[in-house]
């Protein structure tokens, strides 16, 4: 009985926060609204790329290579004569995919491991040692090694970017679990004989959601940047599928001849990362004031 009541209390707490969000946040955090709108625009652009006056982003046309921005090619062309505008717009798909997939995956996997580590004493030591080990390996090196060793594809790049992000999520979740499990309503549920999966899902999971949403936005932003750095180091997404990162990486030799190859995807990347970060900051301030102070 008490468990149900507590869950309702939790839910209404969440609902109240959302209501407050609607009332106050958008007016109090205009930057967050801007971030959100920008992000939605990017997603729309990615989805409707074929309708946005683009041409085939991988069609080679060496005759018109390295042309500057103009009426025919709005953002110019690259060293193979491919249209940078079309590549950048289509690249939105890949970059957002990498960002969002890395965020969702690392949160999902980290959540499961974190819940287990936090609640099952037996697993805790083993899991946390493994996580410490993973965390001690510099993320970018781990990612380069994974991509370079397992072959560059969208999936391997995404996985390689995701893996180094997991330990941080695990730590976050575990810390929350450890603090929540001592709360009276959880102890009451345990005393009432509620089974472990139910306790995790009903009582503990809801507490982890707000900080995880915030964490997800940071993972998303850093994943998009990491993707471009991997491209720069020669271990990025395959060149056949344009992403902002590999357009810039391929264009790096041409920085002084054809700066537009780097400029347009770079500007869009910066704008998107900015939007995601601003959104994350705003969410943090509203969803979880406790973290807001600590971050």
């Amino acid at each position: 009985m008490s468990a149900i009541a507590d869950r309702d209390a939790n839910r209404s707490g969440l609902r109240e926060r959302l209501a407050e969000f609607r009332r106050n946040v958008l007016s109090r955090h205009p930057t967050m609204a801007i971030g959100g709108v920008l992000l939605i625009l990017m997603i729309l652009g990615a989805v409707f790329a074929p309708l946005l006056f683009t041409v085939d982003p991988i069609a080679l046309n060496p005759i018109q290579r390295l042309r500057g921005p103009g009426a025919a090619q709005w953002f110019g062309t690259d060293m193979f004569g491919r249209d940078i505008y079309s590549r950048t717009i289509y690249g939105t798909r890949i970059s957002l995919f990498v960002g969002l997939a890395a965020a969702v995956l690392s949160i999902a996997i980290g959540l499961v491991i974190g819940l287990l580590a936090g609640y099952v004493r037996l697993l805790d030591t083993i899991l946390m040692r493994v996580m410490d080990g993973l965390m001690a390996i510099p993320g970018i090196l781990l990612a380069i090694a994974l991509v370079s060793l397992s072959g560059a594809s969208l999936v391997t790049v995404t996985v390689a970017i995701t893996i180094p992000e997991i330990p941080r999520v695990v730590r976050l979740v575990r810390a929350i679990v450890l603090s929540v499990r001592e709360e009276p309503y959880v102890e009451a549920a345990v005393a009432a004989g509620t089974r472990l999966p139910l306790i995790l899902i009903r009582h503990i999971l809801p507490n982890t959601i707000p900080p995880l949403i915030v964490q997800a936005t940071y993972v998303c932003a850093s994943a998009m940047l990491t993707e471009s750095i991997l491209g720069f180091l020669g271990a990025g997404t395959p060149p056949e599928i344009p992403s902002w990162g590999n357009i810039m990486a391929e264009g790096r030799t041409y920085f002084q001849i054809a700066p537009w190859i780097i400029f347009f995807p770079g500007a869009l990347l910066a704008l998107t990362v900015l939007a995601v970060n601003v959104l994350g900051d705003g969410l943090r301030d509203t969803l979880d004031p406790r973290i807001a102070k600590k971050m």
């Binding site: 290579r65 370079s148 072959g151 560059a152 395959p238 060149p239 056949e240 790096r252």
Partner: protein, 528 residues
């Protein structure tokens, strides 16, 4: 680990010392240094153990050769003073020049050279071919090498005077006896430069010092042949992983010589005051699209030829090289402008186009098997070749599965003969420097799937012509056999011929005396 920690502590100590000198020590004013950006990082230093071009170039600094190729592609004596052949063409006698000395001061002996040739003969393709016809190789005295053959062989001097990897460099016997599959441990040669081992930072810097004891030949330099007169005290190779930074360093006069700038950077460099840009290798590089002859769909000669027909050289060269002054179409499999150039069988590449390819593909019975293209993303030219091939094949109606990977993965995967589902492949791209594929002996042109090069074409006629080549009595006969080889290569669709391209070099205008050659040499160069 201990060394590094100690070094770190040193830092801490040094940082605490307030009285640090403000200006660095000035280099001795008289010392002439040539600062070079090499085309690659020198990762290993044994030119017999590896075929890497950068290690070959390093070999030319430290070691010397018995014979060397000149600008007419003819072998000329280098360490050898005089030589003779018996009338039956079976006994070859070589006498070494006077005054040859190893870097440790010991004289170069015939026994050293015999051991060096033996080690080379176990690794190099032409070396193995030579060893197959060899009866004995021995030192008659300190200065005389005697080579006895089982049968007359037309490429003796061409083999021991070959210009590119693996070059038969001469090493002291104690190093030459190293297992050919293990690296030699020290760099003692008799070449015009000494390797400064203490200053070697793999991945970054290599330093060579002038060998004061070197006695150059009196002839003027010509390719690897002629006098190797060193005109600087010190050559520093500083490797740059980033092209843009390398270019800027040359513009800012922080280096003197940039061995392989990206073609597209050449115009910026050429427009910068005080920088010369030119093509140094007159033979150039030959682009290759290699089919896997063992796996469908390219186990079918008609499909291979359909793909070849679509591979229009201009499209590849424009995409990968860009500036027309740095490429030219070449429909001969032997580099254009070299003695064995031929037009035999080349209609298929000459008249290439998508329409032609479509027609041939329709006749071939292609069943829609996807083509796995291995794309090495860390090598821009090959990455571009792969993109063009993918587009061509799609246009003629083939299914394409582009697989991006780094060059290391590609090199191990291309050795696999397994089906695609077990890690096999259908196409990869590469290039050969022209000097490596001058004649049918090049492994790239093999028609023997057991011993041949990756892709494993099988053609008995081709192999017959190739094995007959070194036994040819004269140049005319060689030419006939080479033409036959080329005809077969095109007929069986051995590989797609993607044309010739040239890599420019760029240097400060105070650098003089570059030797035009397919291989980069650093003798005869002065800094004024």
């Amino acid at each position: 680990m201990f060394r590094s920690t100690r070094r770190a502590l040193l830092f801490a100590a040094a940082l605490a010392v307030p009285a640090m000198v403000l200006a660095g020590p000035q280099p001795a004013a008289a010392e002439k240094v040539l600062r070079v950006i090499p085309h690659a990082d020198l990762k290993n230093i044994d030119p017999i153990w590896t075929t890497a071009y950068i290690t070959r170039n390093h070999g030319y600094m430290v070691y010397d050769t018995l014979f060397a190729m000149d600008a007419n592609l003819k072998p000329q004596p280098q360490m050898v003073d005089t030589w003779s052949v018996s009338d039956d063409q079976l006994t070859w006698t070589f006498k070494l020049r006077d005054g040859l000395k190893w870097h440790d001061g010991a004289p170069v002996t015939a026994a050293d050279c015999v051991a060096s040739l033996n080690r080379w003969g176990k690794r190099d393709g032409m070396g193995q071919a030579l060893m197959n016809v060899m009866d004995s190789l021995s030192a008659a005295d300190d200065k005389t090498i005697v080579m006895k053959l089982k049968q007359p062989y037309g490429l003796v001097l061409e083999s021991i005077g070959k210009i590119s990897s693996n070059v038969p460099f001469m090493m002291p016997k104690r190093f030459a006896e190293t297992d050919p599959f293990e690296q030699v441990t020290d760099m003692i040669g008799s070449g015009p430069f000494k390797f400064s081992k203490d200053e070697w930072v793999p991945g970054s810097k290599v330093v060579y010092l002038k060998n004061e004891d070197y006695v150059p030949r009196s002839e003027p330099p010509s390719y690897a042949a002629g006098g190797k007169v060193v005109k600087v005290d010190r050559v520093e190779w500083v490797y740059f992983p980033d092209q843009t930074t390398a270019m800027n360093a040359l513009i800012n006069n922080e280096v003197d010589y940039f061995e392989q700038p990206a073609n597209d950077l050449a115009p910026i460099l050429a427009n910068s005051p005080g920088i010369v840009v030119e093509v140094n290798d007159p033979v150039g590089n030959m682009g290759f699209a290699r089919f896997n002859h063992l796996l469908p769909p390219f186990d079918n000669v008609k499909v291979r030829r359909a793909a070849m027909a679509a591979m229009k050289q201009e499209d590849y060269l424009l995409a990968a090289v860009g500036l027309p002054e740095y490429f030219s179409t070449c429909y001969s499999v032997f580099p254009c402008g070299t003695p064995l150039e031929s037009t035999a069988g080349s209609e298929i590449v000459k008249s290439a186009g998508v329409e032609e390819g479509k027609k041939l593909l329709a006749e071939s019975g292609y069943d829609g098997t996807p083509v796995v293209i291995m794309q090495p993303t860390d090598i821009p030219v090959l990455s571009a070749f792969s993109l063009v091939t993918a587009e061509k094949l799609r246009k003629i109606g083939m299914k394409v599965d582009m697989q991006a990977m780094d060059w290391s993965t590609l090199t191990s995967r291309r050795a696999k003969r397994d089906p695609v589902k077990d890690g096999g492949w259908n196409i990869f791209h590469t290039w050969w420097i022209g000097a490596d594929v001058l004649n049918p002996m090049a492994i790239a042109y093999s028609g023997d799937p057991a011993k041949g090069w990756f892709g494993w074409p099988s053609d008995a006629d081709l192999e017959r012509a190739r094995t007959a080549f070194p036994l040819a009595k004269n140049v005319a006969e060689q030419k006939v056999l080479a033409t036959k080889v080329q005809d077969r290569l095109y007929a069986i669709g051995s590989h797609g011929n993607l044309g010739a391209f040239f890599t420019p070099v760029a240097y400060r205008d105070n650098v003089k005396g570059l030797i035009k050659s397919p291989v980069q040499f650093f003798w005869n160069i002065s800094v004024e």
